[in-house]
């Protein structure tokens, strides 16, 4: 039985729990993680959307930041959406307030598309998908630069909005708010591959 932990410090946690449960189709359980000690027992992790300044402060003030890093270093798959994509990065443009975890070789522009007025839905062309994916961008960040080991999956204009590096998949949009679970399916495949390789 797979166990997926959704880091529940702030943001749309219940939406992520429900979406992951739908994707799992009974093959595992999903838990909202509010306290230290649970992450080490998880086979996969989700860092949800919310306010990155708030989540970053909460992470830093608990042992969960270290637990999360340790899990990712050990190869536990991590799905990081929106604020999550900001937090896993190595660097944030012009930003001192949020301390990223430095897990992914990316440089981030926060609020890359402007205020909520400029939030948008778009049909994305995604590497490996045979038809467009409707993505929901809410005051979204974007990846403005990637290191060599990062696989770019989708762009909006010049901005990178979906990428993968080793066991991390980072999305600037919200797969938990729509019914299309193709990114969740990739994530579950990452879990299976890790189980097979005995990681």
């Amino acid at each position: 039985m797979l166990r997926i932990g959704v880091i529940a410090l702030q943001g749309d946690v219940s939406e992520h729990v429900l979406a992951m449960e739908r994707a799992l189709q009974g093959k595992g359980e999903v838990q909202a993680v509010r306290t230290p000690g649970i992450i080490p027992g998880c086979d996969g992790l989700v860092l949800p959307g919310g306010e990155s300044t708030t989540i970053s402060k909460q992470l830093a003030s608990s042992e969960m930041a270290e637990e999360l890093k340790k899990a990712v270093y050990a190869g536990v798959p991590l799905l990081a959406t929106c604020a999550g994509l900001v937090l896993v990065s190595r660097e944030i443009e012009g930003e001192m307030r949020v301390k990223p975890l430095g897990l992914m070789d990316t440089r981030i522009g926060r609020n890359a598309f402007g205020p909520q007025r400029e939030s948008f839905e778009a049909d994305l062309d995604v590497k490996g998908f045979d038809r467009p994916y409707r993505a929901v961008f809410i005051r979204a960040p974007a990846i403005v630069r990637v290191g060599e080991g990062v696989d770019v999956l989708a762009r909006v204009g010049e901005n990178i909005v979906a990428a993968r590096q080793n066991s991390i998949m980072a999305l600037a949009f919200h797969p938990e708010l729509t019914d299309d679970l193709r990114f969740h399916d990739i994530f579950l495949k990452m879990l299976e591959e890790r189980a097979i390789s005995g990681g």
Binding site: D12, R34, T53, P115, D123
Partner: protein
């Protein structure tokens, strides 16, 4: 992906924005300096207004939208979302706030109402939050396009009792819908003057169809945790922070209290040594005509 094929202002984007605020504290601020304190404390958003509700109550007169120059200065200062209040029914104030670039408009009973009708919120690109005392008010606002609901409570009092009353009222009414058949739902929809589909959805999911925060009288970490335990998705704090003795400490403590609302040990720790909370005003002592919560319907 070409930039011209984007869709803006959809209901999914509006309600989605509100969902990103869940588990957070939204703080009233009147200056960029206060906004910085709020962000530093871990607020998920700030609400820009010209005076906190306790002062609005004291000053009397007509309360209006804040000066756009101040709102802009606050937007420049923080990276978290900035919300601002428009008068009930004053759609031009809302248009101005949208033009200035605020992330969400609070159509608020704290300001002096401009119309017997509320704003047609579906016509805007940015989302709205509205106050409600009961399920009828909440679902009418959602039908008009509100992407988020907050209890009205009694703003500017520091007395949490009215927020508790309104949260219990909304939750209780939703619970009472459980097991109703179509005809009973139709009858209830007529009685409380709401859209049947929204009522049926609330009955099915056993909560409001949008994010529901607590507001109107939250003044301490314990108040904030109380509202969370009663089922709020997050908390607005108005006068409670910048009318307290030590705003930065109070702001941080309330953020912690919302995150750890069900951990009494931690609540005890963060409640220690915060200095005096806002002085406050017993909501029961306010004459009916001076109550803010009766504005709107």
């Amino acid at each position: 992906m070409e930039l011209e094929n984007l869709r803006f202002g959809t209901e999914l984007l509006k309600r989605g924005f509100a969902k990103m605020q869940k588990g957070g504290v939204i703080m009233d601020v009147t200056t960029p300096e206060q906004a910085m304190i709020a962000e530093e404390a871990g607020a998920v958003a700030v609400m820009a207004l010209h005076a906190v509700p306790a002062d609005i109550r004291k000053m009397g007169g007509v309360a209006r939208m804040a000066d756009p120059a101040v709102i802009e200065a606050i937007i420049e200062t923080v990276t978290i979302p900035v919300m601002a209040k428009a008068r009930i029914g004053h759609f031009v104030e809302a248009q101005i706030l949208e033009a200035v670039g605020v992330d969400m408009v609070d159509e608020s009973e704290v300001l002096t109402p401009a119309d017997e009708f509320h704003i047609e919120k579906t016509k805007f690109t940015i989302p709205f939050v509205c106050g409600a005392r009961n399920l009828g008010e909440a679902l009418r606002r959602i039908k008009e396009g509100a992407a988020m609901i907050r209890t009205k409570g009694e703003a500017g009092t520091g007395d949490v009792s009215q927020a508790v009353l309104h949260m219990r009222q909304i939750m209780g009414q939703i619970r009472s819908l459980k097991g109703m058949d179509e005809l009973q739902l139709m009858k209830t929809a007529r009685e409380i003057e709401v859209d049947l589909d929204l009522l049926a959805e609330s009955a099915r999911i056993q909560r409001l169809p949008v994010v529901n925060f607590a507001a109107g009288g939250v003044a301490t970490p314990a108040d904030a945790a109380l509202m969370m335990q009663l089922g709020a998705d997050g908390v607005f704090v108005g006068s409670g922070i910048f009318k307290s003795e030590n705003p930065a400490a109070m702001a941080q403590a309330i953020v912690q209290a919302v995150h750890h609302y069900d951990d009494p040990q931690l609540l005890a720790r963060v409640s220690k040594g915060l200095g005096a909370a806002m002085k406050g005003l017993d909501a029961a002592s306010i004459p009916e005509a001076e109550a803010l919560q009766t504005r709107g319907w």
